[in-house]
């Protein structure tokens, strides 16, 4: 799928140059999360069991988990990673407009900064975590203007997922 998207970008039928993308699938019955990172920033992952926020990249010590963005090189191989989401685990996907936002002094938030903001957000459902994280980003930015698109997707495995135990 990702390879096809990459080739579609390269065809340039719609004039698109390239895109970074984080693509994930979650099968509730198997409790299986699969994801591919095409040059996108690493999502934050709250591990409920360890009560700790980290980057998805923490699963590897040395190698990068991100593949090339879409639309750069034909035939680029993309890696799919499979993982288990535990109850209460939270994933935060975001775009670079979030991490590149700057405070009035011109200091960019950065990935580590976003991680720190996430650590300061009260745990709960995505409907509370998401707005709280956005507010924390806005508070960091203060009066400084937005300089890029900003998107955040917060996902959490529900305690009683549909399809579980059927």
């Amino acid at each position: 799928m990702i390879r096809e998207l990459n080739d579609a970008f390269l065809q340039g039928a719609e004039g698109v140059q390239f895109a970074t993308a984080f693509v994930l699938s979650y099968q509730s019955k198997l409790d299986e999360l699969r994801y591919t990172n095409a040059g996108h920033l690493p999502p934050l992952w709250y591990r409920a069991r360890e009560r700790k926020w980290a980057l998805t990249e923490w699963i590897e010590d040395e190698e990068e988990m991100s593949d090339l963005p879409l639309g750069l090189i034909s035939g680029t191989p993309y890696t799919q990673v499979s993982a288990s989401l535990e109850h209460g685990d939270i994933l935060v996907l975001y775009t670079d407009g979030i991490t590149e936002c700057r405070n009035p002094a011109g200091v960019p938030l950065g990935i580590d900064g976003l991680l720190e903001l996430a650590e300061g957000v009260p745990l709960g459902l995505p409907t509370s975590i998401g707005p709280a994280l956005i507010k924390a980003v806005d508070d960091f930015r203060g009066t400084a203007p937005s300089i890029d698109d900003e998107t955040v997707v917060v996902l959490q495995r529900l305690p009683n997922s549909p399809g579980q135990g059927e």
Binding site: M1, R3, A8, G15, V16, Q17, F18, A19, T20, A21, F22, V23, L24, S25, Y26, Q27, S28, R34, G39, H40, I59, E60, E64, D67, L68, P69, P77, Y78, T79, Q80, V81, S82, S84, T95, D96, G97, E100, L125, P126, T127, G130, P131, I134, S146, I147, D148, D149, E150, T151, V152, V153, V154, L155, Q156, R157, L158, S161, P162, G163, Q164
Partner: protein
């Protein structure tokens, strides 16, 4: 530019005599999305991509910079071609015992099963319900418009906020959430598309078509 044959590497060095890379950003220039150019003019991906390509070839990339002499050094390992060897593939080593993760083959065709007609079990917000499809039960997507909404798909509680910069002159963010396979499979995509802002929706359409076909 000069090339040097070293015992274990081939060195390709690209040098200029410009003002150099300031020391305070030398540690950042290989980071993805880092750029000193104004918004919309630089992607910040050039050196990141170079680094990835060099790493893929098990090479080394190094910067030496001072005013008057800046050198990017690319070292690629000297290897003999192995007859019949296949192209190198990306390999991921994960420590399963510690990290509970494992790699599966790329392009696994695991969701090609036939999906019977069914109903959406629960949707809290639905931007674009797929009324004319039975395989994709729910589709939420956004590109050029500011949105914030909750969604619950396949046992995942979700919340999305997208705030595009207006006007979108340099592309835009797009997100896509779908639910299919009897309500058991959630797909989520977050992408940052370079190009014209108007094209983001077109890319989202293509993405949706591609996923629907495999749903």
């Amino acid at each position: 530019m000069r090339t040097v044959l070293e015992p274990e590497f081939v060195l390709v060095e690209i040098v200029d005599n410009g003002p150099g890379v300031p020391p305070e950003i030398q540690g950042k220039i290989f980071d993805p999305f880092f750029t000193t150019k104004p918004v919309g003019e630089g992607t910040g991906l050039g050196l990141d991509i170079v680094q990835r390509i060099v790493r893929t070839h098990h090479g080394l990339l190094r910067l030496e910079s001072r005013p008057g002499r800046t050198a990017f050094q690319v070292r690629l390992p000297r290897v003999r071609p192995v007859p019949g060897a296949s192209q190198p593939t990306r390999r991921v080593e994960l420590n399963r015992s510690q990290k509970g993760l494992h790699q599966i083959d790329s392009y696994a065709r695991v969701w090609d099963e036939e999906v019977p007609r069914t109903q959406v079990r629960r949707t809290e917000t639905c931007l674009r319900p797929r009324a004319n499809r039975t395989d994709v039960l729910l589709e939420l997507r956004g590109g050029n418009d500011a949105v914030a909404y909750p969604a619950e798909i396949a046992g995942l509680a979700g919340w999305v906020s997208s705030r595009p910069l207006s006007p979108a002159t340099h592309g835009g963010d797009l997100h896509y959430l779908s639910l299919c396979s009897r309500g058991e499979l959630a797909r989520v995509v977050l992408a940052d598309v370079a190009g014209h802002g108007e094209l983001v929706s077109a890319v989202a359409d293509r993405l949706a078509r591609g996923f629907a076909a495999k749903c």
